[in-house]
């Protein structure tokens, strides 16, 4: 990698004078004989959607898990809002405001939407420590409305929702607790066309609200719909950065596979 100071190629000019909300510097991670990540730099700005793409085994998921605090990198630093921060586990990451939406959703089917949004953070009334259902439902409805997530009745169990609605609830749940960066791992996998559209619209609304959004996706059509920048990983390295407005799907595919064509500029 030739990049220094976390200033990669191809940043939009408006972003160069800003500070990334989350920045990784020179992250390396090895599992036994496998070098999963080699000196990877990464950055996401507030109000930006970054798509992380690459073939299977390129290191996308490992990188996301480093951000989420699940893996501790062997080398490298994590910077949050301009400060070097220690991340020793998922709790540290969550405390910073990095929210992860897992592929398997992590919702309780038998509980209603309100209960899921508040799971583990239930509000209690006083003096008796009973659940404060009205207050929770009120705030839940507000959050769903702000994110324009359409749920017929937030008192219905999650089991009754469509795939897109469930994914939206999972996203709402992760951002309603003061998140600044959201990590989405394959948010549209296994969704129909209409439901995919719902989730992509939700991603754009998160950006509009000033969050830094990182999306892993295999679906380049989806990526080109929502991403501001596209970062390509291959064999544990960051091999390309594209501005969505100035690049083609073909060029991104070239970077993913390592083929040389189009306007692809290798960075090794």
């Amino acid at each position: 990698m030739t990049e220094t100071g976390g200033r990669p190629d191809g940043l939009p000019p408006t972003a160069t004078d800003r500070q990334p909300v989350l920045q990784l510097r020179g992250i390396s991670k090895r599992f036994g004989a496998v070098q999963a990540l080699s000196a990877v730099d990464f950055e996401v700005y507030a109000g930006e959607v970054v798509a992380l793409v690459g073939d299977n085994g390129a290191g996308k998921s490992t990188l996301i898990k480093v951000m989420a605090g699940i893996y501790i990198p062997d080398e490298g630093e994590i910077w949050f809002e301009g400060k070097h921060v220690p991340v020793h586990g998922p709790r540290d990451s969550a405390a910073l405001g990095i929210a992860t939406v897992y592929q398997d959703l992590a919702l309780s089917d038998n509980l209603d939407v309100v209960a899921n949004l508040y799971l583990g953070r239930e509000e209690l009334s006083s003096p008796l420590p009973l659940l404060s259902e009205e207050r929770m439902e009120q705030r839940a409805r507000e959050v769903l409305k702000t994110l324009d997530v359409k749920i017929p009745n937030p008192r219905n169990p999650v089991a009754a929702l469509s795939g897109g609605q469930r994914q939206s609830v999972a996203v709402a749940r992760s951002v309603m607790w003061k998140a600044k960066v959201v990590l989405l791992d394959e948010p549209t996998a296994a969704l129909g066309v209409q439901q995919t559209k719902q989730v992509l619209e939700l991603v754009l609304r998160l950006r509009h609200q000033g969050l830094g959004v990182i999306v892993i996706s295999h679906n380049l059509a989806n990526v080109f719909e929502v991403a501001d920048r596209i970062i390509v990983m291959r064999l544990g390295r960051r091999v390309g950065t594209f501005n969505r407005a100035e690049s083609s799907e073909q060029a991104v595919v070239g970077a993913i596979t390592g083929a040389e064509f189009g306007k692809f500029k290798p960075q090794e």
């Binding site: 992590a106 309780s108 659940l131």
Partner: protein, 395 residues
């Protein structure tokens, strides 16, 4: 919203719930009516106040065990040791009270605490070594039955003598006490209806139609006053029934209105999601097994009070199976995360009615076991079919 409209939306929501597999306690209520109709047809004495009062008193001890089973089932686990814990808890109480001369209150406390310790032990083994709960508690079934035999010693039977312990299962309160309680409960239900609506309105939340809420209230009030009228026509209100109801109402409150209860449902629905939400999944599991053991031991003490003795057979035979069957028949899912402690009462009434009705017909144990087995199979089938319905609806 006009009355007709709200009735229609109420019916539509009911239809949607049934189609999506959220059947709740509907099948058990229908089943109970059917069973009562059949037994009344075969022997009109079945519906007499005397017999119905007996029925209520008969189901109390196993009903309390069932409350604990419901909690464990909500986690998607099982406790097969409750029969042995029922026996051991009552044996500890009887030995301390009769042979060691302890006062009755500490003897009862020691018996109940035995169940708590055992339940905690099961929960610890289940969570620490990740042994399936049915194996841990199967080992418990054998171990604690052995402990029960050991505690009872060579004689094998201890007759209870303390008047207080004998009173628990055999005390009846006069009808006036019962009516006062019934009126208080119904007034509380009505007040709750208004309070919830007012709080929702204050929070700017949509209010459901009146029709559904009032219909529900009328049904509950009717059941409460109807049951009271039956009890008043006989000996009055059995203390054991009040104890069972107190446990059910208390645990219903815990399950539906506290954080602990919410977390039990969360762990039963999706343990991984609960863990990621920061819930101490193992803490919840150990607490629930401890509660189940406690309730089993308490049920045993109530059963001993009714029998006026503790012996080698206390808690053996169909105690365990009836307690589990009652919870499942009452509509609590075997697959975790769905159910209510009221199934201890409704399912207990179904099983109690079968036992009681067949006894009135002088049928022997052979028929009783076969009928109970058939009803249990039907209930589990409804649960499994409803689950498939949910999975289809969830896609």
């Amino acid at each position: 919203m006009t009355a007709a409209q709200s009735v229609r939306t109420g019916l539509e929501s009911l239809q949607r719930r049934v189609a999506s597999g959220d059947v709740g306690s509907l099948p058990v209520i229908l089943g109970l009516f059917l069973i009562w109709a059949v037994f009344t047809y075969l022997n009109p004495l079945f519906l007499s106040p005397l017999n119905l009062t007996n029925l209520m008193a008969q189901i109390a001890a196993t009903g309390i065990v069932s409350v604990g089973i419901v909690l464990v089932l909500l986690l998607g686990e099982i406790d097969l040791s409750v029969g042995s814990v029922y026996g051991l808890g009552s044996a500890v109480m009887a030995v301390l009270s009769v042979q060691k001369g302890w006062a009755i209150a500490p003897a009862i406390a020691a018996g109940v605490l035995t169940g708590t310790v055992i339940g905690t032990f099961h929960g610890f083994f289940f969570t620490r070594f990740r042994i399936p709960s049915f194996v841990v508690t199967l080992a418990g079934l054998l171990t604690w039955y052995g402990a029960q035999l050991h505690v009872l010693g060579e004689k094998g039977t201890i007759n209870l003598t303390d008047p207080t312990i004998l009173q628990i299962a055999n005390q009846f309160y006069p009808a006036s006490v019962g009516w006062t309680l019934a009126v208080i409960v119904v007034a509380w239900l009505a007040a709750d209806l208004f309070i919830v609506r007012r709080r929702r309105a204050a929070a700017g939340l949509p209010l459901g139609g009146w029709a559904g809420a009032i219909a529900k209230f009328v049904v509950y009030a009717g059941v409460i006053f109807g049951a009271m009228a039956v009890l008043a026509a006989d000996r009055g209100v059995p203390l054991s029934l009040l104890i069972l109801l107190a446990f059910i109402v208390g645990f219903d409150l815990i399950l539906t209105r506290t954080r602990f209860g919410r977390h039990i449902f969360a762990v039963g629905g999706n343990a991984e999601a609960a863990r990621r939400a920061g819930i101490s999944v193992n803490g919840i599991r150990i607490a629930v097994f401890a509660l189940c053991g406690t309730l089993a031991a308490f049920g045993g003490i109530l059963g001993a009070s009714r029998l006026e003795a503790v012996n080698y057979n206390s808690g053996t035979g169909d105690t365990l199976l009836n307690a589990i069957a009652a919870a499942v028949i009452g509509g609590t899912s075997l697959f975790g995360g769905r159910g209510t402690v009221w199934s201890a009462l409704t399912g207990g009434l179904v099983i109690g009615s079968i036992n009681n009705g067949l006894a009135l017909l002088s049928a022997a144990s052979d028929v009783k076991f076969m009928v109970t087995g058939g009803v249990l199979l039907a209930a589990v089938t409804i649960d499994a079919v409803a689950r498939q319905g949910r999975q289809r609806a969830g896609v």
